[in-house]
């Protein structure tokens, strides 16, 4: 049974902002951002979804992890972060979609947190579209520059 938002509410303040990396290594360069008319540049919904077998997608709390540090973590893990973006969304917005955010600190990323489903809102393809439309790009790694 997924965590219920009611039992977790308040653990991460609704005023907080959470972040997720959007990498687009070359060659390949998958589109991880998308220009949405009337909204602007956002994440694609595919870049927010958990993969099969992954329970909850990883995010990081801006309060504890800066966008620059979030990109550094990926570079330290050997990922190509040239031109990477970081998207952001308010926890309140996540909860308005009836999902929840719970802390899940790791040794490398104390701000690590998870978006979890609730009894009122399971993970669906539509919910990732709705969340993606609410994201904004808050950091872009210079193309050709390494974060590490």
């Amino acid at each position: 049974m997924p965590p219920d938002s009611d039992s977790r509410a308040g653990v991460v303040s609704p005023d907080e902002i959470i972040l997720r990396r959007l990498l687009s290594p070359k060659p390949g360069a998958p589109a991880t951002t998308q220009i949405r008319p009337g909204i602007g540049l956002t994440a694609t919904s595919f870049s927010l979804r958990p993969r099969r077998g992954e329970q909850y997608p990883s995010w990081s709390r801006l309060l504890l992890t800066s966008p620059e540090r979030l990109v550094e973590l990926a570079a330290e893990d050997g990922c190509d972060v040239r031109g990477a973006h970081v998207c952001a969304v308010a926890v309140q917005v996540v909860r308005e979609l009836r999902l929840d955010v719970v802390p899940d600190p790791t040794p490398a990323d104390h701000g690590h947190c998870l978006i979890v489903p609730t009894t009122r809102q399971p993970f669906t393809d539509i919910i990732w579209k709705r969340l993606a439309q609410k994201t904004r790009i808050v950091h872009t790694q210079p193309d050709g520059a390494s974060a590490a």
Binding site: R21, L22, L23, P25, P27, G28, A29, P30, A31, T32, Q34, I35, R36, P37, G38, I39, T44, S45, F46, S47, R49, P50, R51, R52, E54, P57, S58, L73, A74, D77, C79, D80, V81, T124, D125, I126, W128, K129, R130, Q133
Partner: protein
Amino acid sequence: MIPIVGFEQRSLGVHDVHPDAVTSVEYAARAATWLGDALAHVEQLGALPANWDSYGSAPVAMSSIVQACRFVTELAHVPGVMRPAITATPDGEVGFCWDTGRWSLDAAVEPSGAIRYAFVASDPPQERESVTRDISDLIPLLTRS
């Protein structure tokens, strides 16, 4: 680069690459001008390593690339279908995204050829998510004004 035999030719007709293409869709004789770039982009996704997104994503399956080339070739022959944004899903599938501001549609092409899609429109409000093998299910959504 992973060569995909047959997809370098820009003059292919939809039935050349998709013999089972449904006939209820009205196809144009010539593909949209964006098809060549789209096919090249889909092919390039095959070069992505595992964990390319830093969150543990799978490499893109060759079978999904082949199916996606068929899918996008067919769409490029449907008048009014716009060029999609092309991406990879965390599960190693090819993903296509459209957003006009009035509606948006995401479609992931599974290695089996099944297309999992999610559609949201604002006016009139409409939401749909489903899995199909019939591209004609998507045409009314993708050609909506």
